[in-house]
């Protein structure tokens, strides 16, 4: 009952004319950002983040969450019409979405993607509403040892579940953590890692600078290289008759969509997992349990619905640990977390007590954003088809201008703009060499919390490292961290053993 009352209060915030307008703008912008190949929710949020200083924090986070939501819907559009996923989260949608478009069913595929996204979004927002407050209550029992153990677990999930190269993931996490220590020491206040004695480093390296660099400039460079020839756009018309027929067809997919929603929500909550593996898992399971698995990959509507429900549900799921524990579940939520810290809000259980208007305003805005996204998505399909024909060079030029000016705006220092260029070029090279960038950004965001909780715990126990395993919750997190860390090593050993047993060619 409490939850319902708080949610009702939240709707009073999110349904104010100004915030409603913010949701509509955010969702529309997100849909276009998500639909553009090479740009996804993480790029959209990174580029737009510096512009949100114009509105109050609650409206700023609502705007960014709406962009996030819109981008998850938009990702399917280019997957279906171009055969190129707008973002990695929409990769699985390409498998059946593109064949459907080639068969002349682009409209039906787009309806399926929109409706499935809506179902995934709605179910996961309901789960979010139910779980948010109890999880925040549990998190209230956290001390520095638990905080450290939880952050450690977030990093080890990247090592164990991320699916990337283990050595490279560890190197990226450490690089992000070291960069987070640049500036003044948290406890003694003494300067450290002031490279070349440049005064700009005294205030540390903002996560915003890193994010705009790697996700803005780096992504533009990467996309210039990978999509130099313009792909052809499949035309899509959408009549009311087709809409009705599509909705009727979707009615038969309840089992797939419900399963995808629950799976997506819980996978999305894991720090390293997020929407991409959730959508791939959902696609794989839908195919496994299908009566006609051979039709998958040839234009099966279930193959569009399954990943789209899961990726939208996962995007909501990843917001839950960010708000309740201060641990982001995806690179985009790491940016949202950084934004909240910039606006003076401290994510975690106390946020639910100190800023209930903000928290429940955000939660209720997810309902509004979800409803707005499905309507705007279907209504704007002809516009998407037109926008996808826009030359990528125009988009690149505008994104780079926004990166330069958006990077300068928050602190008004050219030092930050130089760092953005440096991180952008470095990010491009690292990405090409298969170094994962999400752990780098996450580490920069979580670094100060990790160091503070680590040092506080040790100071309180006079250097006794056993403090991390003596407290039950902390011990559970440390245990899980060990499992996540050891898991890929076992896999690696098995693979190597398999190779050595295989006959030589």
């Amino acid at each position: 009952m409490d939850t319902l009352a708080l949610l009702a209060d939240g709707f009073a915030t999110s349904l104010s004319p100004f915030n409603l307008m913010i949701v509509l703008i955010g969702v529309t912008a997100g849909l276009f950002i998500g639909a553009m190949p090479g740009l996804g929710s993480v790029n959209g949020v990174a580029i737009v983040l510096p512009l949100t200083f114009i509105v109050p924090p609650a409206s700023a986070i609502i705007l960014l969450a709406a962009i996030y939501y819109g981008a998850m819907y938009g990702g399917a559009v280019s997957s279906i019409l171009l055969g190129i996923p707008g973002a990695s989260t929409a990769v699985a949608t390409t498998f059946d979405g593109r064949p459907m478009a080639q068969k002349g069913e682009a409209g039906l595929a787009l309806i399926a993607a929109a409706v499935a996204s809506f179902v995934g979004g709605t179910i996961s927002v309901i789960l979010f509403t139910l779980f948010a407050a109890p999880l925040a209550d549990i998190a209230l029992a956290f001390g520095p040892a638990e905080e450290f153990a939880l952050v450690l677990m977030a990093f080890t999930t990247f090592v164990g579940l991320g699916g990337d190269d283990v050595f490279k993931t560890i190197a990226m996490i450490c690089l992000g953590l070291v960069l987070s220590t640049v500036g003044l020491d948290l406890i003694s206040g003494q300067p450290r890692l002031i490279f070349f004695d440049m005064p700009g480093f005294y205030s540390g390296i903002s996560f915003l600078v890193l994010a705009i660099g790697v996700y803005g400039v780096g992504e533009v460079l990467y996309t210039i290289e990978t999509s130099r020839s313009a792909p052809s756009v499949t035309a899509a018309r959408l009549t009311f008759r087709e809409l009705g027929a599509g909705l009727k067809k979707m009615n038969q997919l309840w089992r797939t969509m419900s399963f995808g929603s629950f799976l997506g929500f819980f996978v999305g909550m894991l720090p390293a997992a997020g929407a991409t593996p959730a959508s791939l898992m959902s696609y794989g399971l839908a195919k496994t349990f299908s009566k006609k698995p051979e039709t998958f990959g040839r234009g099966n509507i279930e193959g569009v619905a399954a990943p789209e429900t899961a990726n939208n549900a996962a995007s909501t799921g990843s917001l839950l640990p960010m708000l309740t524990l201060g641990i982001p579940g995806s690179p985009t939520t790491a940016l949202l977390l950084g934004g909240m810290v910039m606006w003076g809000l401290v994510p975690g259980p106390m946020l639910f007590i100190e800023q209930p208007d903000f928290v429940w305003g955000l939660i209720s805005s997810l309902y509004t954003a979800n409803a707005a996204a499905v309507i705007i998505n279907i209504a704007l399909i002809p516009l998407f088809v037109w926008a996808l024909r826009m030359p990528f060079t125009v988009l690149c030029a505008l994104v780079l201008v926004l990166c330069i000016v958006g990077g300068f705006a928050p602190n008004q220092k050219m030092h930050d703009v130089w760092l953005i260029a440096g991180f952008g070029i470095a990010g491009y090279v690292l990405r090409k060499a298969d170094y994962p960038l999400a752990p780098l950004v996450l580490a920069l965001v979580l670094g100060p919390l990790m160091e503070k909780s680590f040092r506080q715990s040790l100071i309180a126990e006079q250097g006794d490292i056993m403090v991390f395993v003596e407290r039950p919750l902390s011990a559970i997190f440390i245990g899980l961290s060990v499992v996540f860390f050891v898991l890929p090593l076992i896999k690696l050993m098995r693979r190597n053993k398999g190779k050595s047993l295989a006959p030589a060619e």
């Binding site: 512009l51 200083f53 114009i54 190269d165 050595f167 490279k168 560890i170 190197a171 450490c174 690089l175 953590l177 070291v178 220590t181 020491d185 406890i187 003694s188 003494q190 450290r192 890692l193 002031i194 490279f195 400039v217 533009v220 460079l221 210039i224 290289e225 130099r228 030359p391 060079t393 125009v394 690149c396 030029a397 505008l398 780079l400 201008v401 330069i404 000016v405 300068f408 705006a409 008004q412 050219m414 703009v417 130089w418 260029a421 952008g424 070029i425 491009y428 090279v429 690292l430 090409k432 060499a433 298969d434 160091e451 680590f454 040092r455 040790l458 100071i459 250097g463 190597n496 190779k499």
Partner: protein
């Protein structure tokens, strides 16, 4: 890809050593009464980064090295484009303190859209003019964030008088 992998791994190892050297400015061990020293966290993390990067390097010499048959840059034609855009970006940032954000960004857009995009004068001209106008009204008039003007500062005095 293997050569690039090795070069990047060596660069990461060099960066780790540089971080370690910097971190030793503050104590890296236990400080009586104050817990771990201010340099401990960055120093030991740099050590882990060094070991992980060394792992990448060593693995590249083994038979199980990943991406062995891949190319770092599959499309050689893209190299001039990437280098050109990077150089243009750096030149633009370098020019901002002297020529101001507006002049630098106008030149950036002109060069980018015309040379790299191969667009016509109508599109290039309209975007080159519309973008700085939008930036001025959004950042300076609405957000009250002044962008660097360099030697173009006097040209903006009439605009300041009009809008502030």
């Amino acid at each position: 890809m293997l050569v690039a992998d090795r070069l990047i791994a060596v660069a990461m190892m060099g960066l780790s050593l540089y971080f370690m050297w910097h971190a030793t400015v503050l104590p890296i061990g236990w400080v009586e009464g104050a817990g771990p020293g201010g340099g401990a966290f960055p120093f030991w993390l740099s050590v882990v980064m060094l070991v992980a990067s060394a792992g990448v390097l060593l693995r590249s010499f083994s038979r199980a090295a990943p991406h062995m048959d891949e190319k770092f840059i599959p499309d050689a034609d893209a190299v001039p484009q990437i280098l050109g855009v990077s150089a243009l970006l750096i030149a633009t940032i370098a020019a901002i303190p002297f020529a101001g954000a507006y002049v630098s960004l106008i030149v950036f857009l002109l060069v980018y859209l015309r040379l790299f995009g191969g667009h016509g004068w109508v599109l290039t001209g309209s975007l080159t003019l519309a973008t700085p106008v939008f930036l001025f009204f959004f950042f300076e008039v609405t957000l009250k964030i002044l962008l660097p003007k360099g030697w173009t500062e006097p040209l903006f005095i009439p605009l300041y008088a009009q809008f502030f």
